[in-house]
């Protein structure tokens, strides 16, 4: 059966989207490898004409083999607007340190979030507990969400909406308690 793989990346690529599988650690202080917005170190994706489709081998891969997506760089996001996120109430005083949130039982496991705060801003957040035992990192950057693919939500165009599972509920809950501990 013919299978197709499509990857469209935003304006920032090459940032190591593939997760490292490392055992959970409660004392990780390694700095993030991801560039912050505005940093001159941020690599910029090379624009190409359009997203394209790469055909995977027509024979189904054997169980256990990896179908690795290959990256296709779309045209630069012309007119991309940075969405203004809802800003949390600013901290009254500049807090610094790491704060670990409560362990939250989500529907597929436990999630516990640790945040690193520098001068009242979150500079890093990571799962110290995740359902699969992963320890993943996240850092602050603006996220240009596929503006070139974005369509206005007109009820005339769609007859249903997908996208409200509560996978991340534990994150919010754990993050909220970490923020509370940070006084933010």
């Amino acid at each position: 059966m013919k299978r197709a793989i499509l990857i469209a990346t935003g304006t920032v690529g090459g940032l190591g989207a593939v997760l490292a599988i490392t055992p959970p650690t409660f004392t990780s202080t390694e700095s993030s490898s991801m560039a912050l917005p505005g940093s001159s170190a941020a690599p910029v994706a090379t624009p190409s004409a359009a997203s394209s489709v790469a055909a995977a081998p027509t024979t189904p891969a054997k169980s256990g083999s990896t179908t690795k997506p290959t990256t296709v760089k779309p045209a630069a996001t012309a007119g991309a607007q940075t969405q203004a996120p809802v800003v949390a109430a600013p901290a009254t005083k500049a807090v610094s340190g790491t704060f670990t949130g409560d362990s939250v039982d989500v529907r597929y496991g436990f999630v516990q979030v640790k945040i690193t705060v520098e001068n009242g801003k979150i500079t890093d957040a990571q799962a110290v507990t995740a359902p699969s035992g992963r320890n993943d990192r996240w850092t602050q950057m603006s996220v240009p969400v596929l503006r070139q693919r974005t369509l206005a939500a007109q009820s005339a165009n769609i007859s249903g909406v997908s996208g409200a599972s509560f996978t991340s509920y534990g994150w919010y809950t754990s993050l909220a308690s970490a923020l509370a501990k940070a006084g933010m």
Partner: protein, 256 residues
């Protein structure tokens, strides 16, 4: 041609039904939906981890063995085991402190059951939407024109914005993501946090499996692309918004 929509409050969320029939009158569709209500409340009684008396809660406490549970509970147990194997353990209802929790499978599984019962009752056009996990049957008739159900995947950062539309005649679609339930917590700079993906959408024939796969992709991120090379998942597709770049990757025949 009758078309009716219903909302059933169950499972801590809203189950939305959009039904069309050229044969049934409104009363007959209402009657079919009453049957659906009985079933979904029963699912809650049997499977809820929030109800001490449910079979799942009793399993979790070690009071009963799976062999002593009703057929539906046993079926979901075995389907969860299959999903665990297909995802290399990224979806693992047994890896939860407190014991077996099939919540990540049951919604999609139940949506399939609901759709089947409505089709058998005579509804040709069926959308069952269990808080973003949808089962669709027979397409939809809009303004007298028959066509596929057009299901929008919404932006986790802005629920008013549709990122992509999938056209589905018969099948299931499930999205997991950093979507809000209650208040969003935003970092001033970035928005939400996820584990392996920002949002993961899976399309395929089975609602339970699409539900489980979408959840598992949130955990595994790009590592999960390999699952879709398995023959068991030949009919499944995934579309995943990357957490870091805001770009997306996809795999499967529904993604083009």
């Amino acid at each position: 041609m009758v078309r009716k929509r219903y909302e059933i409050h169950v499972w801590g969320t809203v189950l939305f039904l959009d039904l069309g029939s050229s044969k049934l009158g409104e009363a007959a569709i209402d009657a079919a939906v009453e049957g659906v209500k009985k079933f979904v409340y029963g699912v809650d009684e049997d499977f809820s981890t929030y109800k001490d008396g449910s079979f799942v809660s009793r399993l979790r406490r070690g009071e009963i063995a799976i062999e002593q549970c009703p057929a539906d509970v046993q079926e979901v147990w075995h389907l969860c085991a299959a999903a665990r194997d297909l995802t290399g353990g990224a979806f693992d209802p047994w890896a939860v402190a407190g014991g077996f929790d099939p919540s990540g499978y049951v919604k999609g599984w139940a949506a399939d059951r609901v759709a089947l019962s409505l089709v058998e009752a005579g509804c040709e056009n069926v959308q069952v939407n269990a808080a973003g996990d949808l089962t669709l049957r027979g397409g939809v008739v809009e303004k007298g024109v028959a066509g596929p159900w057009k299901i929008g995947v919404v932006n986790p950062d802005n629920r008013q914005e549709v990122l992509r539309i999938f056209e589905i005649h018969d099948g299931a679609i499930a999205t997991s993501g950093t979507y809000e339930r209650g208040a969003h917590i935003f970092d001033p700079h970035s928005g939400t946090i996820a584990i392996g993906a920002k949002s993961a959408t899976v399309l395929g024939p089975d609602g339970g499996l699409t539900d489980a796969l979408a959840t598992a992709l949130m955990v595994a991120g790009e590592d999960g692309a390999g699952w879709f090379g398995r023959p068991e998942l030949a009919e499944y597709s995934a579309w995943v918004i990357d957490r870091h770049s805001g770009g997306a990757w996809g795999v499967g025949s529904a993604i083009s």
